[in-house]
Symmetry: C2
Subunit: 320 residues, 2 copies
């Protein structure tokens, strides 16, 4: 996608620098294939296993990247984020490793396994009502009390650049991919994937996959302006987040299409991944396989990278 490189804001050198700086704190995750899923999809699938990333999700990459650009004064006062799960865990672990105090605001109803993990990493957890206003208010209170720096889970350039490193590794291992598909919630992973495919792929497309129930990114791309979700309810709890203003222009330039899938298709794809690859992935990860299976006319006969975003599932709340 060399024609879009000129209009992308972050430069290739920035991606390379971020990849170098976060390397000591993250895992290089494996790329897995499945004979069965290749036959089922008619495509050649390469799963990038971010469920095996530290704390169980790609969010670790963005969190480490965001902490790496803090000033000494900012590091001394700590960081705060509000998150229904994975980014909260990621900030908690990254901050622990880097010796920075972390405050995490979590809405009631967050899967217990995610809340326990954040506490386990030594962060201070503040509970709040499960809506955006309550989350932001709780975050503001912590900022006023402590002077902590707020970190957005997806809509910030250091986070996007950190997320891009998953696809950089994938392309390094499989250089001739026809495209990479990533789930889209807030858009931080998809924007990072778009940057990495544009700069490091060899005519490598970037696609998004999204639950139909929260199709704000799909509609935003179609309308040319950011759309919202009325009532965000999906089993893919990591993808409920509103598409962000920093991510959207990158997605507009670098993403060929976003594919929507139904809840039942997400559950079926998740079950296939568990049964056939023996990997525990969360519903948000299954969305990309669901899209590839739903639209064979777009994906069959192609060599495709699929970003499995994470594996933090509450085993007490499984859909099967």
């Amino acid at each position: 996608m060399s024609h879009i490189q000129g209009v992308l804001k972050p430069k290739k050198t920035q991606l390379i620098e971020v990849a170098q700086s976060i390397k000591p704190w993250i895992h290089r995750t494996p790329v897995v294939r499945s004979r069965f899923l290749n036959e089922l999809s008619g495509a050649d699938l390469y799963f990038k296993c971010e469920q095996l990333q530290r704390m169980g999700a790609f969010k670790m990459r963005g969190a480490v990247s965001a902490l790496s650009v803090l000033s000494d004064e900012q590091r001394a006062q700590g960081v705060v984020t509000h998150s229904s799960g994975n980014f909260g865990q990621a900030v908690a672990l990254a901050a622990k490793l880097m010796g920075i105090k972390a405050y995490v605001v979590m809405p009631q109803g967050t899967p217990k396994v995610k809340r326990d993990a954040v506490l386990g990493y030594g962060a201070e957890v503040t509970d709040c009502a499960p809506n955006l206003a309550a989350r932001e208010q709780a975050t503001q209170e912590i900022i006023q009390r402590t002077g902590a720096t707020a970190l957005h889970p997806s809509n910030a350039m250091p986070v996007i650049l950190g997320n891009a490193t998953a696809t950089m590794e994938l392309i390094e291992e499989v250089p001739d991919l026809n495209g990479v598909i990533a789930p889209v919630g807030g858009g931080g992973l998809l924007a990072g994937t778009a940057l990495a495919t544009a700069y490091f792929g060899d005519n490598c497309l970037c696609w998004g996959a999204e639950p139909s129930a929260v199709d704000d990114a799909y509609r935003s791309l179609k309308m040319g302006s950011i759309q919202t979700n009325e009532d965000p309810k999906t089993i893919a709890d990591g993808l409920k987040t509103q598409l962000g203003s920093v991510n959207f222009p990158i997605i507009q330039k670098g993403v060929s299409a976003i594919y929507c899938v139904e809840e039942s298709e997400i559950v079926a794809a998740m079950r296939l991944l568990w049964e056939r690859t023996k990997m525990v992935v969360e519903p948000s990860s299954a969305v990309v396989l669901a899209a590839v299976l739903k639209y064979p006319q777009e994906f069959s006969e192609k060599k495709i990278g699929l970003i499995l975003s994470g594996g933090n599932v509450d085993l007490g709340q499984l859909p099967f």
Copy 2:
């Protein structure tokens, strides 16, 4: 354990030959570690991931090994086995790959995912009542009708030698293990593990792990003769099988101890493995971690290999 090598029947060269002959048909499975589980156990744990073996269990090794020693005439008439799951799948797949007809007798109540897989590999399935007499009768009928050769899932030397190759690979990768722990049902995996640790380990012990509900191997080792289970009921459905007469003498010579665990401890260990390593393993696999966590006085401070036997779980029947 050089002192026991002299009294073991199969020789080291036999193990090396079998490892060579089955290599083209099996996967070399990865060895995985977990920082969290190391801290929890106080030991240094190396999980040999046979859930990532072809058809999802170590049984593939024994099945390929058993088919490899058939005469041309035997190959022409096919093979038959009765199995509640993994060995049936393994024979079905191995036979398909090697161009041999397979008949699999399966008791009613076998997890659907295992039955579907056997059919998917092209084997002929015969259903029978869920008791040993019915299984053996159905098997005899097939032998009389077709001339097929019967394969025992665990109590046969070619199967034991095939199973041993998992531990041979593990020791090749981690040569200084203090011991390897494997689950015990019929005893074919544990006997193979005992041979491999004795011949290839460097003062490497071999331990068994067994559900208390079906502790025939534990009692057999203690009494010095094969004991039976009254009413074999455990969530570890792969371990209900009666300890076999070919396996027992090898286990007597090569196994230091067998550790028993309760059903709740198996479920808790399985949940830990799923949540922390993101790997789908079946209850029989979790038995080894349950034992290591239950007996820290035996295992802490040691470098331990754990054979995760398989990952074929019916996701519709989970215990959490």
